[in-house]
């Protein structure tokens, strides 16, 4: 039982990171029907930006305020990159064939990933221990401070996003654009603004996830974005791509699935099981666990 609960705690931590990243994929897909392959690399970039802010701007201060500043500045920086990315790489292709936009997204991914390498170098960079190593033993299950922070902050952000999308006028505009862009335009919604907003929200959530990865695992490499991006993307599909609560659910589910597979079956087969799960779900229920069933679009 202890092991089970411990794996559960570990799975939820990594799952909430996946969920944050998955939100970026799902929102962009919902409105633009585009897999933003560059999103994972933005997550990685955020960890490097955060590290640089810590060493260069804050002079390696480890106070709580410093941590908050790192989060805010990185989120703002990545939001700018996200908007820029959309303007330069995706907007010119909105009327082009679907695959052209996919290639452009892959190009952007390669560019960001290798841009990180050119700026920060190919070797692993190491994040400072900003969050003190405090942990509590709850009857055999050990939970650390950083895990609690990751889980709590992710939940707060996700609830806030859910409320924003469901309860505000801007949220309604996002939902409307996702259903039918042309009709939304006719109803007076500025779809360009909605898309920019989506990139701002998605990128800053991704930035938070990138910093979580840096703070939790400490070692960051320029190409780690692929891995997290793919997992998060799988999470988004599990929950039904385009579906915001679905992405949160899918992220958590994938985190737990991987923890239990690694814990009870084999840690070295976690990737294979993740994708086999994905393939099975797509064959059986192509629109994801929470997605609505839609007819195949030719």
């Amino acid at each position: 039982m202890d092991i089970f609960l411990q794996q559960l705690a570990n799975g939820l931590t990594i799952g909430s990171i996946y969920a944050l990243v998955a939100l970026g994929y799902t929102m962009v897909y919902g409105v633009m029907k585009l897999i933003n392959f560059a999103h994972g690399d933005m997550v990685a970039a955020s960890a490097f930006v955060g590290l640089t802010i810590y060493t260069q701007v804050l002079g390696q201060s480890t106070s709580l305020i410093a941590v908050v500043i790192i989060f805010l500045l990185s989120a703002v920086a990545m939001a700018c990159v996200g908007v820029l990315l959309e303007r330069l790489a995706y907007r010119p292709l909105r009327q082009a064939p679907r695959l052209s936009a996919v290639v452009s997204a892959l190009g952007a991914s390669l560019m960001i990933q290798n841009g990180i390498m050119l700026i920060w170098g190919p070797q692993m960079r190491i994040f400072p221990e900003l969050i003190p190593q405090i942990y509590w033993d709850l009857g055999g299950v050990v939970v650390s401070l950083i895990q609690v922070i990751i889980l709590a902050l992710s939940l707060i952000l996700m609830v806030a996003l859910y409320l924003f999308v469901e309860k505000t006028r801007m949220g309604a505009a996002i939902r409307a654009s996702a259903i039918d862009q042309d009709a939304s335009r006719l109803m007076g919604i500025n779809v360009d603004k909605v898309i920019a907003l989506i990139f701002i929200i998605g990128s800053s959530l991704g930035a938070v996830a990138g910093l979580f990865i840096g703070l939790y695992y400490r070692g960051i490499t320029f190409n780690m974005g692929w891995q997290y991006g793919l997992y998060a993307f799988v999470a988004a599909i599990l929950g039904g791509i385009g579906n915001i609560p679905g992405a949160m659910f899918g992220g958590m589910l994938l985190g737990l699935f991987q923890a239990f597979i690694a814990g009870y079956v084999s840690s070295t087969w976690a990737d294979a099981f993740t994708f086999i799960l994905l393939i099975l779900i797509l064959i059986v229920r192509p629109t994801g666990l929470l997605g609505e069933r839609v007819a195949e679009k030719v």
């Binding site: 202890d2 092991i3 411990q6 794996q7 570990n10 990594i14 170098g121 190919p122 070797q123 692993m124 190491i126 221990e129 190593q133 942990y135 033993d137 050990v142 650390s144 990865i213 695992y217 400490r218 070692g219 490499t221 780690m224 891995q227 991987q258 923890a259 690694a262 814990g263 840690s267 070295t268 976690a270 990737d271």
Partner: protein, 376 residues
Amino acid sequence: MKRTFRNILLTLCAVAMMAGLSWAETLKVGVQAPITGSYANEGQGIENAVRLLAAQINADGGVMGKQIEVIPCDDQGTAMAAAICAKELVNKGVSMVIGSYTSTAAEAAQKTYFDAKVLQTSDGTADGLTEKGYWTFLRNSFPNSAEAVFAANYMVNVKAYKNIAVISDFSSYATGLAESTVAEIKKAGGNVITYAKIKADSQNFTPVLTNIKSKNPDAIFFAGYYSDGGQLRAQQVALGIKADFIGGDANDNPDFAKLAGSAAKGAFIINVPSPELLPYDVAKDFLKNYEATYGMLPPSIWTLMNADGMRAIVHGMEQTKSFDTKKVADYLMSMEKPLPGITGPLQFAKDGNRIGSSYMTFEIQGDNSYKVVHAQ
């Protein structure tokens, strides 16, 4: 068909002519090392050391009048890139190759060098490297099996651990070291409660560690590289696993302690003496020059091991007064008196293994420095 044969002949002539030309000019020394990738830190160290040695030798008039030209190739620590590097270096006409850092990359390149009669010296510790009968290969470090004996003795007899968990990744080095350590622990009467494998670079090791925790080990022996070792140690402590952590030789890198953070304190690492502990004059000289040239100390002992490999081959060439790699190899594998090396006396067995080993156990201190707690 006929044309193909003519082509082959023509190319052979061309290659021979080009090779002849290049002989006349410089002595080409290849460096095959992970200059980028997870082990970039070590790869850059090897390249730096070779360049420094080459500059020193060239300043003294080169090798029998020939200047050394260093040709680096980045194998990223992966087998495929290593195989490509091997082809490329051979095509460029090198007569010896220094590296690589990982056993995997050294092994992937071995046959190409053997076919081309190019001498190769690597710090790769996998036993398999010297078991294929390639006379071109010289190991400048000591094989896993020697380390396994020391590690098992340390854990079972010195520390008297009852239950030991062993973890490795999938690389040739790590599985080789882990398997021979498991065997040696059993031979020494110790108890291996589990042997788990992790995927290198996957960052999240908590599921494996959680399973290990339920088995209440006294010690965790990790055969693998520092980039995973540091994170493994940090996650072990974060999960409240009280066991001692003992890292194999490839954990000996400053990044291990940086990655583990405050968890680094108290971790043990088993390796040959680290650079600053080397008592030899050659070592002190080389370290001084290295620091003066690059503004830092070598990342680990492996840099120096590879430098020694290169020194041995150059020594062999000078002693045999020949650039014939076979003659040099024969000489090196039957030297009666060892060559004083940076990392200790250099002498090779017939199979290319380096003779004589001395391991130590270090304990990482609060300031990330090493303290020798046990020596062979």
